[in-house]
Amino acid sequence: MAKKRRTFRLFNRRIDIGLITIILFLTGFGLFMMLPLVFLVSTAFKPIEELFIYPPSFFVKNPTMQNFRDLLISQSASSIPFTRYLFNSLLVSIVSVGFTVIIGSLASYPLSKHKFPGRNFIFSGIIVSLMFAPEVVEIPRYLIVTSLGLMDTYGALILPNLAFPIGLFLMKQFLEQVPDEVFEAGKIDGASEWTLFYKIALPLIRPAWATVIILSFTAIWNDASSSALFTQSDEMKTLPYYLSTISGQAANAAAGAAGLGIARAGANAAATFLMTVPTVFIFILFQRQVLSTMAYSGIKS
């Protein structure tokens, strides 16, 4: 039976009115959603005069790199250069994401392909921990980090992130849709479990890595509280922590005296811009694989 959607003919082609409405709506709303990011980029490139003009200009007129230059040479009260925070953030995020992927891949293989005792117990534990929020257990985590002697080290910023339940869950679901015969064939050929994992499972889960990388990188890269809790010295702090201290000051300033919040907005916007670029870049890089993993994200209860 032919489609009975409302269509009309234009240049001999069927035009779907519903589809056009959807595209127009998505485009309009998408542009609206982009506004805060446009303001961010615009503010980051604004010269100081433009930050103060009235009425405020939404878009930058004479873009300048001055804010970025200020940021890179600026030093906090304890003479820690901005680049140190950037370095810490990059180091912590990259090492954490790397190990998260390795540890998660290792765990996803037996969890989806082996029928060992306790498997269901472990898996339901992981399902429950999808509801886990690190923010809720800040104190005990602080106590554990202290008692392990990790306080004020990179280990304190990295280790607590490595067990990433959402990541393991996605990889396990992804591997589960691979037919068991693939592995049984390998077993008959006399391959060891390690070979099966390394030669068969690992290449198969690789698309799922993209999703795990994006989700864990975003979470760790934007996490200000680990740095606040687990490190004391200024040279161990990360970028989001640094931004949270200045934005806190800005919020109180904005509430107190008008204009004070705007005064530092240029440099802050430049820092935020630098912080947003890597996550967006990684997402665009991996987008295709992400959708193919997320297709298996469902929880079958």
Partner: protein, 304 residues
Amino acid sequence: MAIRLRAVGREMWKWRISYLFLSPFILLFALFIVLPTLTSLGLSFTYYNILEPPKWSGWSNYKLLITDDDVFITALKNTLYFALVTGPLGYCLAFLFAWMIHQIPAKARTYYTTVFYVPSLTSGVAMAVVWLIVFANDSNGYLNSFLMQFGFINEPIQWITDVKKIMPVIITISLWMSLGTGFLAFLAGFETINTELYDAGKVDGIRSRFQELWYITIPSMKPQLLFGAVLAIVGSFKVGEVSMAVAGFPSPLYAGHTIILHLHDYAVLRYEMGYAAAISVVLFILIYGLGRICFKVFASKGEL
């Protein structure tokens, strides 16, 4: 009994490689997720200030929390207000936008997906710099300036100091950031639905996009819908960071105070760890309880 134990032991020994593969994850999982949760539970029944060892205090933290702490009640109300608006609304928006993006030609989908997903990649703390300009209290604020130029208002609105405006501002910002992992799961879920189902639906008299959505798409996407719901609940109950960054800490008259911020206040600023642990247990129970309800809802429908 002993024989059964030995059988289980032999079975476990047979799968020793599986446990070896799992061990790094399980070790870290136990150390940084299970142990902290249990410690919270234990500490919530004690008085503990870090300097002295914890002292058992029974239910007193919980009693104090519920009967004597007005600020906690404010935080609870704000969190529930926030979660009940942002959770369902953000969830529905994520589904709606994912659905609409799925309707458009595949080539254009990538661009639209990026546009709608990017806000959730930003850091709530870092974006405060933009929100403080957009929602600034004086006429220099973008929103005030915009509304005044078009004659909607004559006086600037105190977006981030007016006690009645703080929560709506935080909700708006959070909704902007809410098209996250759930949104991606929905988007991918649409792509897995067997297209034959749609053809069969047409034969059965399904005519519009909306009928298709209601009768075919939603029932086939229950697993993804559950996954999205669980993440939406956690996301909406751990609100706090955005409030702190935009409205300051503490916010005027605690108007933007949430459970997470109350927890932070007692844990990090007052060193009352036992009391803070009780707050975290309450929050955990709220999240877990709602999560269980979601599991029930999606499971029971699945049997139909």
